[in-house]
Subunit: 186 residues, 2 copies
C-alpha cells in the first residue's frame, strides 16, 4: 500500500451533470449542478447541493419545487454556459425551451432527454451549501430515449462530471447484482 | 417535442459506484452503494442514501463514522459482490484489506485507489432510506492515482453506475467553466 493523504475536500469520483430548473421571480432559470444523487427509493427522492448564495436557491425556497434536467453530451456548451453565468446577472430563460408538469412551478428543459420533476421535501443546511431533497413527482423523457419504460443510458448520452471536466459514459463494465456472483469462484 | 411520462421513480442519470465502509459490531463491513454525491463545499461533506434495514446502517449509527471507497473498474467483481451479500449473513471483512485513519472506526479498503473518511454530520429520514451526510475528515489515495494533489480520474478508473449496470468513464466532453464560453458566439 502506498497511500497518501490529500486533506479534507469535497471530492466524489463521478457525478451526474444536470441543470437545476427553478422559477425565480416568475421566470424560468437553469443552473448547472453535479452534486446530486438519489436520496430515497420509497417515496422516490433525489437531492442536489446548491450554494446558499445562488439565484436558483431563491427560486426553490420561493416555490418549494424544482427540476433536475439531464442534458446530452451534444449539448455540453449550453450546459456549461448555465454554470458560468448567474441568473442574477443574465436572463437564462431562453437557453432552453421550458415546459411545465404536475407541480406547475418547476420549469423543465425540452432539449434535455430526461427531466425529473420534484416537490421539495426538505432542505438541509450543511454550511456553504443547502442540500435540497426533493420528492420525485414525475419523470418526463424523450420517447426516443426510453427503453423498457426507463431512460436508456446509451440513447440519453448523459454527461459524467469528474475532476472539473465533462465526460461521456464509456464501455460497459458489468451488470449489477450479477457480475459479483463470480466472486465465490475465486 | 415528443415527451412521455414514466411515473415517479428513483432515477439519476449517472452515479458513482462506491463501497460504504463501516464497523459493525467491531468488524469491518463493506456495502456497495451508488446513491451518493457531494453535499457541501465548506465544510466539505458527502452524502449517501442507505436502506434503513441494511447492516451498514447499524454500523454508522453505532460509530457515527463511515467511509466511501472508490473501486477501480478492474475490481468490479468484488465491488458487485459487496452489493449482493449482506454482512448480516456473511463476513465481508476479508473482501478488502482494511486500514483506519483519523476517526479510528471507519474501515477503508486498501485496494480502492481513493478513500473518503467521514464523520457523521446528520442522517435524514427520507422514508425507506436514510440519507447519511458526513463531513469529510480526510481523503486517502494511492500515490499512483494522484495528480496535482487530487485523485486523477483516468488513473483511478472509477466505475459509473447507470441503469443497473456498471460502466467505465468514457471520452472527455469538455472542460467545466470553460467550454460554455463558446455559447455566446452562436
Amino acid at each position: 500500500m502506498d497511500k497518501i493523504t490529500l486533506g479534507a475536500m469535497p471530492y466524489m469520483s463521478v457525478m451526474p451533470t444536470l441543470l437545476v430548473g427553478a422559477n425565480v421571480k416568475g421566470k424560468a432559470n437553469y443552473m448547472t449542478a453535479a452534486w446530486a444523487t438519489v436520496a430515497c427509493m420509497a417515496p422516490p427522492m433525489v437531492c442536489v447541493a446548491i450554494n446558499k448564495t445562488r439565484y436558483t436557491a431563491k427560486g426553490i425556497d420561493e416555490n418549494q419545487t424544482f427540476s433536475l434536467n439531464v442534458p446530452s453530451a451534444k449539448d455540453v456548451v449550453e450546459t456549461d454556459f448555465c454554470g458560468i453565468v448567474s441568473g442574477a446577472n443574465e436572463d437564462k430563460s431562453k437557453v432552453y425551451t421550458s415546459f411545465y408538469g404536475r407541480v406547475k412551478t418547476a420549469p423543465m428543459a425540452e432539449e434535455c432527454p430526461v427531466n425529473i420533476e420534484c416537490r421539495l421535501f426538505k432542505s438541509v443546511d450543511c454550511g456553504s451549501h443547502l442540500l435540497y431533497i426533493g420528492e420525485v413527482v414525475e419523470i418526463h423523457a424523450d420517447r426516443a430515449c426510453v427503453a423498457d419504460k426507463k431512460p436508456d443510458t446509451v440513447k440519453t448520452d448523459p454527461i459524467v462530471y469528474a475532476q472539473s471536466a465533462y465526460w461521456q459514459v464509456g464501455k460497459p463494465a458489468g451488470k449489477a447484482f450479477s457480475i459479483g456472483k463470480e466472486y465465490k469462484k475465486k
